[in-house]
């Protein structure tokens, strides 16, 4: 551990770059969008967290005690109740999938974000140590622990919401009704010829609006978590020498503050999901 990191601390840029690189299959991505690369590290963490959540949910769901809820059942019950209340408030005629979607997003984003609290060097060093047992060069083993500091994860969630928004739009308005929204929204007119003139602008605006929703969602979560992670890395640069107390104090303070960000971002993501799907499920245009 100290061997792996001691030289890195002396060159901060290298240390941070090393920590920001994913463990990947297919090398480093060449361009912004490169589907030939697969990041096994965040995928593994996501699968483990999802498995954990699924296991606990299954365990609790099997042994529901209606009279005396205890322990983890209380926690999950109150989360379910909270999410259900949010869904009922925002989107009263929600179908049966909105609640599970919202709660999965809420808990999963919290779990993935919480990985940020774990000391930044712990898991990368562990993985590097394990890899070195199998003869790999620990300096070239990369591991990123926090799935939400990666665009893949946040955009996967956002893309899911985007697909569902389109699905619910078509379900509630019909395909033609949904396409009509693109032509008549946001600028509407009474006369036919004005409508025709406004149509191109409307199409452009609505496409931008529809795309901006998921992209802003994905980027917001990614930005918050990436910035938090980066700050943890910068604090970790203080090292284990004379600046150790400073690292401990700053790291603790930022962790405590970051807990708020973790929950807030998860809540915002969940809330926006429900709001967008609620809007998409509105039957007719009323303006």
């Amino acid at each position: 551990m100290s061997e792996g990191n001691a030289p890195a601390i002396s060159s901060p840029v290298e240390y941070i770059q090393h920590h920001l690189q994913n463990g990947s299959i297919g090398g480093k991505p060449e361009s912004l969008v490169d589907f030939s690369v697969f990041f096994w590290d965040i995928f593994a963490v996501t699968v483990i967290l999802a498995g954990l959540l699924a296991f606990v949910s299954w365990k609790v769901g099997q042994n529901l005690d209606p009279d005396k809820p205890t322990g983890i059942q209380n926690v999950l019950e109150s989360i379910v109740e909270f999410v259900n209340q949010q869904v009922q408030d925002i989107f009263p005629d929600a179908d049966e999938w909105i609640g599970p979607l919202a709660i999965t997003i809420f808990i999963m984003v919290i779990l993935m974000n919480t990985m940020d609290i774990i000391p930044v060097d712990l898991f990368p060093s562990l993985v590097a140590g394990v890899a070195s047992i199998f003869g790999a060069d620990p300096h070239h083993v990369y591991f990123k622990l926090v799935p939400t500091t990666n665009l893949d994860t946040t955009f996967a969630l956002a893309l899911m919401v985007f697909i569902l928004v389109m699905f619910y739009n078509i379900k509630s308005k019909g395909l033609l009704g949904y396409l009509k929204v693109f032509v008549t929204h946001p600028f509407s007119a009474e006369k036919t010829w004005v409508k025709i003139i406004l149509a191109p602008a409307n199409v452009m605006m609505t496409i931008i609006e529809e795309l901006a929703k998921p992209i802003s969602m994905g980027l917001r979560l990614f930005g918050n978590m990436f910035a938090g992670e980066l700050l943890f890395l910068l604090i970790a640069l203080l090292g284990v020498g004379w600046a150790m107390p400073g690292q401990i104090v700053l790291g603790s303070l930022w962790s405590i503050f970051h807990i708020m960000v973790i929950i807030l971002q998860a809540y915002i993501f969940m809330l926006l999901t429900v709001i967008f799907l609620g809007l998409a499920s509105q039957k007719a245009e009323d303006h």
Binding site: S36, V37, F155
Partner: protein
């Protein structure tokens, strides 16, 4: 900061997880919560009903108690009246009995007295005759002086 094939992996994980959560957490928990809510409401309604029932019973008890009190008061009044009547009747009976006894006694006394008088009268005549015989030294003819003797007896 790239979008890679991991996106699809994550998408699949999330989709499966949502289905799983719906199946094994959301629906059981929601139905449990609903059932609990229903049972709590039921319990509250039952408690309310019990409360009402108790109130009703209390009222009934009070009404019955009042009725019983009134009844007992009436009974007592009746009994008192009856007792007074009985006492009055007894008094009257006693008075009339006393009267009767007194009258009978008086009558008896009067009868006794008149009988004694009669007896006395009848003896007075004999005594007077024998007295007079002794005084005069000769026999008085009863028949000759009957008239005078009768007059004498009537005077006594």
């Amino acid at each position: 900061m790239n979008v890679t094939a991991t996106l699809f992996g994550q998408l699949i994980v999330f989709t499966v997880l949502i289905w799983f959560i719906k199946q094994y957490l959301w629906e059981p928990v929601i139905s449990t919560l609903e059932a609990r809510k229903a049972r709590v409401a039921e319990g509250l309604a039952a408690a309310e009903e019990g409360h009402k029932f108790e109130e009703q019973a209390q009222k009934q008890v009070e009404a019955e108690l009042g009725e019983a009190k009134a009844q007992s008061a009436e009974l007592i009044a009746q009994a008192q009246k009856r007792a007074a009547e009985i006492v009055d009747k007894a008094k009257a009976d006693a008075a009339s009995e006393a009267d009767r006894i007194k009258t009978a006694a008086e009558a008896e006394i009067a009868m006794e007295r008149s009988r004694a008088t009669e007896e006395l009268r009848s003896q007075v005549a004999t005594l007077a005759v024998s007295g007079a015989e002794k005084i005069l030294g000769k026999e008085i003819d009863g028949a000759a002086h009957a008239k005078a003797l009768d007059e004498l007896a009537a005077k006594i």
